[in-house]
């Protein structure tokens, strides 16, 4: 089976602290300094944007930060923001769990059964090669423009990412570990629970982490295709009304949302790996 979309082997990467001279601690090593630089950079960028808009570039193309903030504030007080955010979040989370659970199960089964892997392999490769967002029209035909269609779109994308990583992880489990546990009298289920799953867990987590942003992509693409709610809908309908500020405001919300997801999984991963002693 082709290793497409399989993430790099999950090697825990430790970022070495920059070397520093013990006698003269450099200003650059202080986190607060980097943070300040980032803040200055951001403010400078926004200021440049604000100045450029209407002066050098037509606001129709780039809007301006003050207008975008205004739009965000308007959505916030009207309650629109929460409503649409909730819809997108719901689609993403359900889609993620549906895809992750089915992908994990399929990866586990096919990873342990060379015969099943041989039989299903070509089909999985073929379906995986298909750009999943192209399935959106089909899912609209099946389910209409409501929640299930977005869940399915997000789920299909997540499925393959988690499936391939789990599959690879399960296949790379050391056979000697399995054999030794079998001589201790382990039943099939115990081998899976005590050896295969823990051994493949790093791979599975890699699959889960990379698929979180893709779940969001699935949900938002679904919304952009056809919907009446969600951040994707906000962006699309703003664009339809030539409201550039609204488009940028929607993108800003998405950026924050994606960053939150990434941070959340990083947190879960750190805590799980640390307590994997049992």
């Amino acid at each position: 089976m082709s290793p497409m979309q399989v993430a790099e082997p999950p090697v825990p990467v430790a970022v070495a602290p920059a070397e520093q001279d013990a006698d003269r601690p450099s200003l650059r090593d202080k986190p607060i300094v980097a943070l300040a630089c980032q803040a200055v950079l951001l403010i400078a960028f926004l200021a440049l944007w604000e100045t450029a808009s209407g002066r050098w570039v037509r606001p129709f193309y780039i809007s301006k930060p003050s207008l975008i903030a205004d739009r965000l504030w308007g959505w916030l007080v009207s309650g629109d923001l929460w409503h649409h955010l909730e819809v997108t979040l719901e689609e993403t989370v359900i889609g993620f769990f549906v895809g992750a659970l089915t992908g994990f199960t399929a990866g586990l089964i096919l990873g342990r059964s060379p015969f099943a892997a041989r039989v299903f392999g070509p089909f999985i490769v073929a379906v995986n090669a298909l750009p999943k967002v192209a399935l959106a029209p089909l899912f609209i035909l099946w389910f209409g423009i409501g929640l299930p269609m977005k869940v399915l779109l997000a789920g299909v994308i997540v499925f393959f990412l988690v499936f391939y990583n789990t599959f690879t992880g399960v296949q790379s489990v050391d056979d000697d570990l399995i054999n030794i546990v079998r001589t201790m009298g382990a039943k099939r289920r115990q081998v899976v629970m005590k050896v295969i799953i823990p051994s493949a867990l790093l791979w599975v987590f890699t699959g889960l982490r990379i698929s979180i942003p893709y779940a969001l992509i699935g949900a938002v693409v679904g919304e952009v295709f056809a919907s009446n709610a969600g951040i994707g809908y906000l962006i699309n309908s703003s664009a339809a009304q030539f409201d550039t500020a609204g488009v940028f405001a929607g993108l800003a919300i998405l950026t924050v949302l994606a960053a939150c997801f990434t941070w959340l999984l990083g947190w879960i991963e750190r805590n799980t790996t640390a307590s994997r002693s049992t």
Binding site: L177, N179, I180, T183, M184, G185, Q190, K194, S277
Partner: protein, 264 residues
């Protein structure tokens, strides 16, 4: 007429061949020999003569291509859960602590919390690793990992031990320490041991009987009773004239095959 006590493990015309690419490679046998209950038997032979294969078939992890492996008089047809197996390679679970690794056989057998913890603690005491119970295998030296594996094998008290060059990767001094530790355990519990090694001195040092396999496909070349008393002390034994003489005798037996093994 008194019945002969049944063999603990018996190999009857056991043969093993592997398919490599399009060709069939004869790896072992046919071999026939047996191990008595409570006997410490060393299987000695050059690299690639099928020693590990013999253990794998005894553990039921491999099927013979011909012949039968009998355990307590019954043919081994599935995984043999009555043996403790110490493999050549490290097979500790890297994500578990030392104590967690030693506890696996007990967990599988359904031992409960307190009783299990106590048994694990005893096992760690017996190999002198109590202070490292919470460490991960990656944090230990090679010798310590071997001792964890030894403790894990012994914790569930299997009546037969299969050991595949367990101390092969250790330096000479550490090897002796581990050999002595094994002998002490064996002296106390008198388990049946099938010990695979290519180290002639080790075989003599530990075993009651040495079965010598020839180069591939391995066949039994000789069986050698080790006429040394028990309990043994590996540190002093190595210099004793009787031991040295025996070593020489065994070297003569193996010489041709060692040269052949090199040529392969």
């Amino acid at each position: 007429m008194q019945a002969v006590p049944p063999a603990k493990i018996e190999f009857r015309d056991v043969r093993k061949s592997f398919r490599r690419g399009g060709t069939v490679v004869e790896a072992l046998g046919p071999i026939s020999f047996h191990i008595r209950p409570g006997e410490f038997l060393a299987l000695l032979g050059p690299s690639g003569c099928g020693k590990s294969t013999t253990l794998n078939m005894t553990a039921g992890l491999m099927r013979p291509s011909g012949g039968t492996v009998l355990f307590d008089g019954v043919p081994v047809t599935e995984v043999n859960t009555r043996v403790g197996y110490l493999t050549q390679r490290d097979t500790l679970l890297p994500w578990r602590s030392v104590a967690g690794n030693v506890a696996i056989p007990l967990e599988i057998q359904g031992w409960s919390g307190k009783r299990r913890d106590e048994r694990v603690r005893q096992a760690l005491v017996s190999v002198g690793l109590t202070d490292f119970a919470a460490h991960r295998p990656a944090e230990l030296s090679g010798g310590m990992r071997r001792r964890v594996a030894l403790a894990r094998m012994l914790v569930s008290a299997p009546d037969t031990l299969l050991m595949d060059e367990p101390f092969g990767a250790l330096d000479a001094q550490l090897k002796m320490v581990m050999q002595q530790q094994l002998l002490d355990v064996w002296q106390a519990e008198r388990k049946t041991v099938l010990f695979v090694t290519h180290d002639l001195a080790e075989a003599l040092m530990l075993a009651d009987r040495v079965v010598v396999l020839g180069a591939r496909p391995g066949r039994v070349k000789a069986a050698f009773e080790v006429a040394l008393g028990r309990p043994r002390d590996v540190f002093s034994l190595q210099f004793e004239p009787s031991f040295v003489a025996m070593e020489k005798q065994l070297w003569e037996l193996m010489r041709d095959d060692i040269a052949q093994g090199e040529a392969m």
